[in-house]
Amino acid sequence: MQNIELQPKTEIMPMKKNRFKKANPADVIFVLINTLILSFTVAITLYPILNTLAVSFNDGLDALRGGIYLWPRVISFKNYETVFNTKNLVIGARNSVLRTAISAVLHLSVTALLSYVLSIKEFVFRKPVSLFFVLTMYVNAGLIPTFLLFRELQLTNSFMVYIVPGIVSAFNLLVLRTYMSSLPDSLRESAQIDGANHLTIFWKIYVPICKPVFATIALFIAVYHWSAWFDNMIYNPRNTNLTTLQYELMKLLSSVTSQTSSGGAYGRGSQPVAVTPNSIRAAATIVTSMPIVILYPFLQRYFITGLTIGGVKE
């Protein structure tokens, strides 16, 4: 609904030439409306998180009855206890951190380099190479052929399967390319006249200037790898040393689900099932999103405010 409110405000455009007047009444209204909209957004986006948090601290069986909103009804730490007791949690966390960190750095640097090349308008193969990668977003070979290829490449049952397959992502490539093409060509051209080669230009000029978009793409890559578990299940299902955090949590969830739906032991009356899938899911969500929530502010400062070096652009 946000931008519907924007329409009536267009009439402020006929220019009033009093630029010395600080508080333009139209601006005041704008700020007011903006504050209202954003407060509303915060309220509705904060709610699901607080709700999940409340459920995660609530007794699982009690939560089955519904009606938990912002605060747990029967406080219990059992859900977190179960999550932190997950098998191979430490190995999984180590592998997840490794794949996230390595991929974020490697994929970003590699993709950025190609984006730089493809952002050069004079490059003869710019168009075919762009098309070549754009198409990869829309064609999908399916599970079995991909599996067979990875096995041929010795990627199955190895840590490399977490790193190698996604090195160049067309989506990230295009976002980076767009950002780089919006920078003045003269940045590059003048350096070329000075005899700098492309790798140097990329490294010395483009890398520093592209920090905001790098931070964004690094975040995308990191979040993808942090939450990935499907590749673990398909390519490394039985090697404990290669397990990831998310896969261990998936296994935990599916085992809790199977326990509650198909029973196991019954006739225990006052000793009901200790945890339920929903409450475990809530606790696992909170636990796995924490690292990203902590990481975020460090990346955020790169793209939350405009670039001060903008002044030295032409």
Binding site: Y138, N140, P145, I167, T178, I193, P208, T285, Q300
Partner: protein
């Protein structure tokens, strides 16, 4: 107020110090650039290079745009290739990588022309020509799920663009850093919730008995009695669309916030000189400034319009709205995977790819005609 102002300043100092190195490099380039621009440099480059663009007439802008985005004519000659050998050398490994990881596995598409059985393998399965595709298109239910998928894809595309861009623009107008960070951090959090959690909450809010939406609508007299939202087939697509908006708006806006950083601050000064207010700057500077990003994402997502997934629809559906809720992916899960029919799943995948490629070709051509940023 002053405290916040100080906070702003010190934050800026911090940033300045941090970007000192980059600045130095740039400053030296700038010097060389000046010298360079004397001799050549007539075409402006980059959307923000010219201050006056902000207030130019529509027609002029379009003209400028098509000039800017016009492909420089480069002939594919031995000389050009020799001159660009460094660029070509950098590109080669990427292309090889792409062939290996994205194109070779496409050999698996032969499954769609076979009665594929895992035990017989890709080479040993029986060939059936176009039978699988014939089966696919002859199913009335497939045509139905195609319609649903397309409708939900378009609704999602429009809603998510409008909301993400709107949110990024509005957030960018917040001057105080602390609230700005807070709003942004909160807004992207729902991205990390799985659909099963989000759908649980959506169902809660729309519930007939105690759902807050029904309570409000009945409370202010729009309905006389609570509405069972999930019994109305014409509401289903919108429920999916707005659930999507709720979950992903903050996350989707991140990319626009990054793009906003590339806008030249002088543009705002120029606009201010011309008397633009807050809204005017947002509308005439910020929005055009992120237009290349908007177009690229729009083009990418037009191709993804059939990839609306299955999870949210599957979790929200029921017998009554089934005819509008089923997507291609659900159809494939049920009739393909659920029945062990890999060939059917592959055929549906190929169909989706072909539709996507046609769509991006059309969209890309449109973008080219309009002189906007494009994919290839």
């Amino acid at each position: 107020m002053t405290d916040n102002h100080k906070q702003n300043l010190s934050d800026q100092d911090e940033r300045l110090a941090e970007e000192n190195a980059a600045k130095k490099t740039l400053a030296s380039i700038k010097r060389r650039e000046l010298a360079y621009s004397k001799s050549s440099q007539k075409t402006s480059s980059g959307p923000n290079s010219d201050k006056s663009t902000a207030l130019m007439s529509r027609k002029d802008k379009r003209k400028l745009r098509s000039e800017r985005n016009a492909e420089p004519k480069v002939e594919l000659s031995r000389r050009t290739m020799l001159r660009q050998r460094e660029l070509i050398l950098i590109t080669i490994p990427f292309v090889l990588y792409g062939i290996l990881f994205y194109y070779i596995p496409l050999g698996g598409w032969v499954m769609a022309f076979q009665k594929y059985k895992p035990q017989d393998g890709l080479l040993g399965s029986q060939w059936v020509g176009l039978d699988v595709f014939k089966h696919l298109f002859s199913e009335a239910s497939f045509r139905l799920v195609f319609r649903n998928t397309l409708a939900m894809g378009i609704i999602n595309l429009i809603l998510s663009f409008v909301f993400a861009i709107g949110f990024a623009l509005l957030l960018n107008e917040v001057r105080l850093r602390a609230p700005k960070r807070f709003v942004q951090t909160v807004s992207y959090l729902p991205h990390f919730l799985s659909w099963i959690i989000v759908v649980g909450i959506v169902r809660d809010m729309l519930s007939v008995e105690h759902g807050i939406i029904n309570q409000i609508l009945v409370g202010i007299g729009i309905f006389d009695k609570p509405l069972n939202f999930f019994s109305k087939p014409n509401l289903f697509w919108w429920i999916v669309g707005f659930s999507n908006v709720w979950k992903e708006t903050g996350w989707n806006s991140i990319i626009y916030l990054a793009a906003i950083t590339a806008i030249n601050p002088e543009m705002y000064e120029a606009a201010a000189l011309d008397g633009a207010g807050r809204f005017g700057k947002m509308w005439h500077v910020t929005l055009p400034g992120i237009k290349p990003t908007i177009f690229i994402l729009l083009l990418i997502n037009v191709g993804n319009v059939l990839n609306v997934g299955f999870e949210v629809q599957y979790l929200l559906t029921n017998g009554i709205v089934k005819s509008v809720s089923e997507t291609i992916d659900i159809w494939v899960l049920y009739w393909g995977i659920g029945q062990g029919d890999f060939s059917l799943g592959t055929a549906a995948g190929i169909f989706k790819s072909i539709v996507s490629i046609i769509l991006i070709y059309l969209a890309n051509a449109t973008a080219k005609a309009a002189g906007e940023e494009r994919l290839f």
